[in-house]
């Protein structure tokens, strides 16, 4: 006789018992011990068919291939740049992956990207030791100039983007800003100072309230009211 021990969408702590019985299966961030399923992280519980998974409320970003992230140049080497990705792992961008134009051997790389510069880049490879290779050659990838970068927990990125990008589009429309969301939790906002501040507040609001019901209504209300 299998049964859920917690209500769906409730906040659970690590080690909390979620379900009893062999009918359920442990999904993301859940594990089975004997006939019970437990949470492995602080998060929201959800059930999909027989699979119980936990969506973390916060947590470190795990680099994945194809992810677009925002990172900061911390070192320039002979072959390219080393980036701080706001994780435990630095990333390498080779010169040949930085730009489509031909770069001469003696060229000063800091003219393209200097130490301290931020850039929107894409992860092309992650090794077993979590070493990361980047590219900046695809459309949409570039050095960041102007605007501001907001740091949120990477676990909230899907909520900031929204289904089919609906949430981020709403914020862009109402604030008039260009917004680029990095999967590692860094978000680049560019617009007027007032617009940027409003967008920043909106994104911080999502980060704080995304686990609650009615997020879209809350956001619409906030964006319209603080016009």
């Amino acid at each position: 006789m299998s049964e859920l021990l917690v209500q769906e969408r409730s906040v659970v702590v690590p080690g909390e018992s979620l379900a009893q019985g062999m009918d359920f299966l442990p999904g993301d961030n859940a594990y089975r011990e004997k006939d019970k399923i437990y949470s492995k992280v602080l998060g929201l519980m959800s059930v999909s068919g027989r699979v119980i998974k936990i969506t973390p409320l916060s947590g470190p970003y795990l680099p994945k291939t194809e992810d677009k992230i925002i990172a900061r140049v911390m070192d320039i080497t002979i072959s390219g740049w080393r980036f701080d990705t706001a994780t435990a792992y630095s990333a390498m961008l080779n010169v040949r992956d930085a730009t489509t134009r031909f770069v001469k051997k003696e060229e000063d790389l800091s003219q393209i990207l200097a130490i301290g510069d931020y850039a929107v880049v894409k992860i092309v490879n992650v090794t077993s030791q979590n070493l990361i290779d980047l590219t900046m050659k695809e459309p949409g990838l570039r050095k960041i100039v102007g605007g501001r970068i907001v740091s949120i927990n990477s676990q909230k990125v899907p909520r900031v983007i929204g289904r089919q990008g609906s949430m981020i589009t709403l914020i862009k429309d109402k604030t008039g800003c260009d917004i680029t969301v990095g999967q590692n939790g860094l978000v680049w906002i560019k617009g007027t100072p007032e617009g940027e501040l409003k967008a920043e507040k909106a994104i911080k609001l999502i980060e704080a309230k995304s686990h609650l019901e009615g997020l879209t209504e809350k956001m619409e209300k906030f964006l319209v009211e603080s016009a």
């Binding site: 931020y118 960041i144 100039v145 501001r148 970068i149 907001v150 740091s151 100072p193 501040l197 920043e200």
Partner: protein, 266 residues
Amino acid sequence: MIVNKETIAELAKENKRLDNRTLTEFRQPIQIETNISWTAEGSARVQIGETVVMAGVKLSIEKPYNDTPDEGGIMINAELSPIASPEFEAGPPGMKAVELARVVDRGIREAKAVDLKKLCIEPGEKAWFVIVDIISINDDGNLLDVAGLAALAALKTAKFPVVDPETGAIDYKQKTDKSLPLTKEPLPITIYKVNGALMVDPIREEEKAYEARLTVGSDAKGTISALQKGGDVALTNEEIGRMVDLALEKASFLRKELTKGLKLKQ
């Protein structure tokens, strides 16, 4: 929030900032709590914006220094604990912590804020020695000013511990209601020059964009008791004059906030 230095500099030129403050506004509310640590003779927790600092006062009885046999002593120590920022490292205080402690110390000591002669118990033999320890809990900019405010709040509300009249031993578990002989209320205010404009109370990001800064320690009468210039860019006399004026104005503002904060406790 992370910003390019250029953005902060551009905004500053138009008298704008990343949040809706003016360049000369402190973050609000300013939270001041005292007596937060029962083991300290005096203590305070100050929060301005997201910057949080705790300060504690400990008293001990020591032999006075040879050259000042009728005086006690005071020392300020600061720890930029790694709990407060990913940029602080564990271990002995680095340059930033040392500078912070020395500037706050200078402001209090040079203002003769604590009457060291009144700390004397027996000339040449015994005197009270005061040590203020400042611990950063969260660094979101302007640690020095917040630390100075916390140190002053702790000193103002500190009480002497009970001393056994026979043995002379200190009973730290019991406090008298006698306060420290505080004659002045020195506060440090740091003014930052950003793209030609003068700014106070920067957040952590804004601190990275300054050309020069000037910390001015002053007391309620407007007498300057400490100065510390930082940053790579030089300042003109005229700029220094303006920075001092602004610092005195802001010190007066923070002193009012401190009075408000202490009254609330009552």
